[in-house]
C-alpha cells in the first residue's frame, strides 16, 4: 500500500468510529484527541479496527505513534515494512480560532 492508500484506510477507520467527522476536513497533523475530540472508547475502537484491517498487534506502548494521521501513516508503513515517503501534508482547510 502506498502512503496515500494507508492514509485513506486510516481515515476510513477513523470516520467509522467517529461518523460525524468529515474525512475531507481532517488535516494530517490533527491530533486525534486534541483536535478531533476522540475519547478513549473511540480510540480503542480505532486501534481494534486497524488491528483487524492490517493484522498488526499494535501494543499500547505504540499508541502515541497513532496520535495524528501523519504519524499513523508513518507507523503503519514502518510496521508493514514499507518505504515511507512523506505525505504531502493535508492541512485542515478551516483551521484557526474563528470557527
Amino acid at each position: 500500500m502506498t502512503p496515500l492508500d494507508l492514509r485513506s484506510a486510516f481515515l476510513a477507520d477513523l470516520t467509522a468510529v467517529a461518523p460525524d467527522l468529515d474525512a475531507a476536513t481532517i488535516g494530517d497533523d490533527d491530533h486525534l484527541q486534541v483536535d478531533l475530540g476522540l475519547d478513549s472508547m473511540d480510540f480503542l475502537n480505532l486501534v481494534s479496527a486497524l488491528h483487524k484491517r492490517f493484522g498488526l498487534p499494535i501494543p499500547e506502548a505504540d499508541y502515541p505513534r497513532l496520535a495524528t494521521p501523519a504519524k499513523a501513516v508513518a507507523y503503519l508503513s514502518a510496521m508493514l515494512g514499507q518505504p515511507q515517503p512523506p505525505l504531502q501534508a493535508a492541512r485542515r482547510p478551516h483551521a484557526g480560532p474563528s470557527r
Binding site: L21, V34, L36, N45, V47, S48, H51, P59, P64
Partner: protein, 253 residues
C-alpha cells in the same frame, strides 16, 4: 479515611452560560477549545473546564479564573498550589463527572453504553478479564464490557498514566454479581486499592479508583450526581465543598 465528592453536569449548555464559562478559561484553554474540529467538542470542552473551575474555586476559596492547572507527562491536569486537593474529570455521552478528593488521587471514568465489538475486548483486556467477559451474553456482556473498561481506565487515571500503559498488567472484576475490585496489579499491591462501581445516570456506567492504602473511603454525591453513587453505595444528604471541615484549604494554597 479518604473522602471523595462526586459532581456531574451536562456538557450541552445554553449559549449565555457557555460564554460565561469561556470567560473563566485561561488563554491556553481557549486556544485548546478552538482547536477542536467539531463545535460540539469545543463547546463540551468549555462547559467541562468552566464548571470544573467553578467547583474547584469553591473548594479552594479562589476565583474560578484564578486557578492554574499544570499537566503531568500524560496530560492529566492538576491544580497548582492546591495542598491535599486532587481531582479527576471524565466525560461521555454529553455528561461530565468530577471526583474531588482530599489526600489521594482519584481516578474517575464514565462511559455512555454503546455497541462494541468483541475484538476490542480481545485486544485490550487481560486474558482473565476476557475470559470472564465471554462468560456473559447479550446485555450482560455489554454491561460487563463497560464495567471492565471504566474500572481499567479509572485505575490508569489514578496512576496518572495514559492509554500507553500496559492494559494487560492488571485485572479487574467485571461481572454484575461481584463487587468492583482490582484482582491483580503488576508492580503494585491490590490491597492498596479501592474500586467502586458508579451509576452516573441513565445509559452510563462509571468507576472510581483510589489508592486508599488501607484507609476507608467515603463517597459523597454532590450537585448534579443522580442520587445514589451506585446500587452498592447509598446517597448522602451531607453537603459538598468541605473547606469548612478542613479549615485552611485554599488559605495555604
Amino acid at each position: 479515611m479518604v473522602r471523595v465528592d462526586l459532581w456531574a453536569w451536562p456538557l450541552a449548555q445554553p449559549a449565555a452560560r457557555l460564554r460565561r464559562f469561556r470567560a473563566l478559561l485561561s488563554a491556553d484553554e481557549v486556544a485548546r477549545a478552538d482547536r477542536f474540529l467539531r463545535p460540539s467538542d469545543r463547546d463540551g470542552f468549555v462547559a467541562g473546564r468552566g464548571r470544573l473551575r467553578e467547583i474547584l474555586g469553591g473548594y479552594l476559596g479562589r476565583a474560578p479564573q484564578a486557578i492554574g492547572f499544570r499537566y503531568n507527562d500524560f496530560g492529566r491536569p492538576e491544580v497548582d498550589g492546591a495542598g491535599d486537593l486532587a481531582f479527576n474529570l471524565s466525560h461521555s455521552g454529553g455528561r461530565a463527572a468530577l471526583a474531588v478528593s482530599d489526600g489521594a488521587q482519584p481516578g474517575l471514568d464514565i462511559e455512555a453504553i454503546r455497541p462494541i465489538e468483541a475484538a476490542v475486548a480481545r485486544h485490550h483486556f487481560s486474558d482473565r478479564e476476557y475470559g470472564a467477559l465471554m462468560g456473559l451474553a447479550g446485555a450482560d456482556w455489554l454491561a460487563g464490557f463497560y464495567r471492565c473498561w471504566t474500572r481499567k481506565e479509572a485505575v490508569i487515571k489514578a496512576l496518572g498514566q495514559g492509554l500507553s500503559m500496559d492494559l494487560k498488567a492488571f485485572d479487574v472484576t467485571l461481572r454484575g454479581d461481584e463487587p468492583a475490585r482490582l484482582q491483580r496489579l503488576t508492580g503494585g499491591q491490590v490491597r492498596d486499592w479501592t474500586l467502586v462501581h458508579l451509576a452516573p445516570g441513565p445509559g452510563l456506567i462509571g468507576a472510581l479508583a483510589v489508592e486508599t492504602r488501607g484507609r476507608g473511603l467515603r463517597i459523597v454525591p454532590c450537585a448534579g450526581w443522580p442520587g445514589a453513587v451506585s446500587p452498592d453505595v447509598p446517597g448522602s444528604s451531607q453537603g459538598c465543598g468541605w473547606r469548612q471541615a478542613r479549615d485552611g484549604w485554599g488559605s495555604h494554597g
